[in-house]
């Protein structure tokens, strides 16, 4: 099967994981039940990671207890890296994982981070991203939550040096009884920094999602630009999306905006598509893909972006839920 990206051995302790369709120019490392040979990054001054680092974290039945671990990504002055963090569950146990991702970016350092969460319905996974940024550093984060029981992402970014830029985006999908919560806190502690947030959710079934996003602008953080948007698409009447923006602005020369929407599928668009012979389900799918498009387009790596589009499509087609061994459909 073409989509069968990872080879998962029957006995993960004995055999090795492999990727069948590796992404281009990517180094792959596995973290099994919170343990791996390579966790995190430590780059010196001006060091540029030649390939994208893909960290595939899996939970297996060998370790069913609650896990918590943290990883550090430290990039010194002008260092650059691209990182893809994937998380999966290999069997149907009630896994609970608490993860902390610490990011420290020196002057002018650039980190592109994509997070792909694809776990089964009983899994609980909370991740806390703590980011410290110095002058002129750039941090791009895209969190794609495809599947999971209870997923929580907490993102805290501290802009501590002038001219810093952070773009944090996310796409979350939830159906059945799934829950996804997102909390973003952006601290503009110094002048002349940019931040943007775009989070979109597609909800079906009786799922619940929450988004709470705070932009804090300190008193002397003049010339701050900070934007935030959260849009949710409800595909069922029983799904609920909560959204709560907060602005805390103490400076006066700033450009800030926020917007939040919760809407349902557009009837006129659906009818138009159906009148052209596009079956109802397919029309819904097109609409949901169109909704998600803006977030996935922010993923800079083209082959990764294409894979995310195709994973999104199979997810929206409900292919994930039919698969007993969920991890086999993921990248």
């Amino acid at each position: 099967m073409e989509n069968n990206y990872i080879y998962i051995p029957n006995d993960p302790q004995q055999e090795e994981f492999r990727c069948r369709v590796p992404l281009k120019d990517t180094e792959q490392v596995f973290v099994v039940d919170g343990k791996g040979e390579k966790m995190g990054l430590n780059l010196g001054k001006g060091e540029i990671l030649p390939q994208m680092l893909q960290v595939i974290a899996v939970r297996s039945r060998q370790a069913q207890e609650d896990l918590s671990y943290s990883t550090d990504y430290r990039l010194a002055e002008r260092a650059q890296a691209k990182v893809l963090l994937c998380s999966h569950t290999l069997s149907m146990e009630d896994f609970t994982t608490h993860e902390c991702v610490n990011v420290e970016l020196g002057k002018g350092a650039i980190l592109d981070m994509v997070v792909m969460q694809n776990e089964h319905n009983k899994s609980k996974h909370s991740t806390s991203f703590k980011v410290q940024m110095e002058e002129g550093a750039v941090f791009n984060l895209n969190v794609v939550t495809l599947h999971g029981g209870e997923i929580s992402n907490e993102i805290e970014v501290n802009l501590n040096g002038k001219g810093g830029e952070c773009n944090v985006n996310g796409l979350y999908l939830a159906d059945g009884q799934q829950k996804v919560s997102t909390r973003v806190n952006i601290f503009h502690n110094v002048p002349e920094c940019h931040s943007s947030q775009l989070f979109k959710g597609i909800l079906d079934g009786e799922s619940r999602t929450s988004f709470s996003g705070k932009i804090y602008v300190a008193k002397d953080a003049q010339k701050t630009e900070a934007y935030q948007a959260n849009n949710n698409l409800l595909a069922s009447r029983t799904a609920k999306a909560y959204t709560q923006p907060h602005l805390e602005i103490y400076a006066d020369d700033v450009k800030c905006s926020h917007g939040a929407t919760v809407g349902s599928l557009n009837e006129d668009e659906l009818f138009y598509m159906r009148s052209r012979g596009i079956a109802k389900d397919e029309a819904k799918l097109l609409q949901q893909q169109a909704f998600a498009y803006a977030v996935l387009e922010k993923v800079a790596n083209e082959s990764l972006r294409e894979r995310l589009h195709s994973l999104l499509e199979s997810r929206l087609r409900g292919e994930f839920s039919e698969c007993a061994n969920c991890s086999k459909h993921c990248c």
């Binding site: 009837e267 006129d268 668009e269 009818f271 138009y272 598509m273 159906r274 009148s275 052209r276 012979g277 596009i278 079956a279 109802k280 397919e282 097109l286 609409q287 893909q289 169109a290 909704f291 498009y293 803006a294």
Partner: protein, 251 residues
């Protein structure tokens, strides 16, 4: 020859208000019908009911389309069966490109006929051929469906879609409104190019000028949800010069 569509005593409500009050209309293959009528007479309502739009409640009457009960079919089934509606107000779908939209539609039609989906190259060829009919730039195909299109471009896009889907019966709801003279000629010529002995068109319009290009065999005047007059193409000219008053008074 067998009738393409047979509408008998069709009554329909929106929000409990009766809009169509007993429509009878028969269209045979090869025919062009024009429906005229003052604003609010129910022309768009009739086309919406025929295309299967939700919230329109048919309270009485029957519609047979190529021998099948049209009213029992979903909007997509009607399309597969060969019905096409050119919208008076085409819908914009941001985020769905024209090419993706039409490719999905064409392949759904093919699936219904048991045909394999078109390859990218086959689709491109077909698309270019049909775009040429309405003199549309292929650059439109990568844009969101109707997003940012001018009024005229939207109408041309409707005829492009009609050309792609090759319907048996096309209902064109005011496809001429908002068109400048060149666009009108292009759209009308496009419709004429698609005309065959085995298909038919219903054009809904307020203006004779469209009917100079697309010459109707039969002209109907719809008023307050009823067809009050049916005649040859000379009726359109008469409406153009005399308005509707003389017909309404006769009612």
């Amino acid at each position: 020859m067998e009738n393409l569509i047979e509408i008998k005593n069709l009554h329909a409500n929106i929000n409990g208000k009766e809009i169509l009050k007993g429509i009878d209309l028969v269209v045979k293959p090869g025919e062009v019908h024009a429906i005229m009528g003052p604003n609010g007479s129910g022309k768009s309502t009739l086309s919406a009911v025929l295309a299967g739009k939700e919230h329109y409640e048919v309270t009485e009457g029957t519609v047979k389309f190529m021998g099948h009960d049209l009213l029992a079919m979903s909007p997509e089934e009607r399309s597969w069966a060969g019905l096409f509606l050119g919208f008076q107000y085409p819908i914009e779908i941001p985020g769905v490109t024209n090419v993706n939209f039409m490719k999905t539609a064409v392949n759904e039609h093919r699936k219904q006929k048991g045909l394999a989906p078109l390859t990218a190259a086959e689709y491109l060829k077909l698309m270019r051929e049909k775009l040429a009919i309405v003199e549309m730039d292929p650059a439109f195909s990568s844009r969101g469906v109707n997003v940012g299109f001018s009024g005229g471009e939207k109408k041309r896009n409707e005829i492009f879609q009609m050309a792609m889907l090759d319907p048996k019966l096309a209902i064109l709801d005011e496809t001429d409104s908002g068109l400048d003279v060149d666009a009108l000629r292009i759209v009308a010529t496009g419709v004429n190019k698609l005309k065959r002995p085995d298909n038919a068109t219903i054009v809904i319009t307020h203006y004779q000028r469209l009917l100079d290009y697309i010459v109707p065999d039969i002209v109907h005047v719809l008023y307050k949800g009823k067809i009050i007059k049916t005649s040859g193409k000379e009726l359109a000219l008469e409406v153009e010069t005399r308005g509707y008053d003389w017909l309404i008074k006769g009612e």
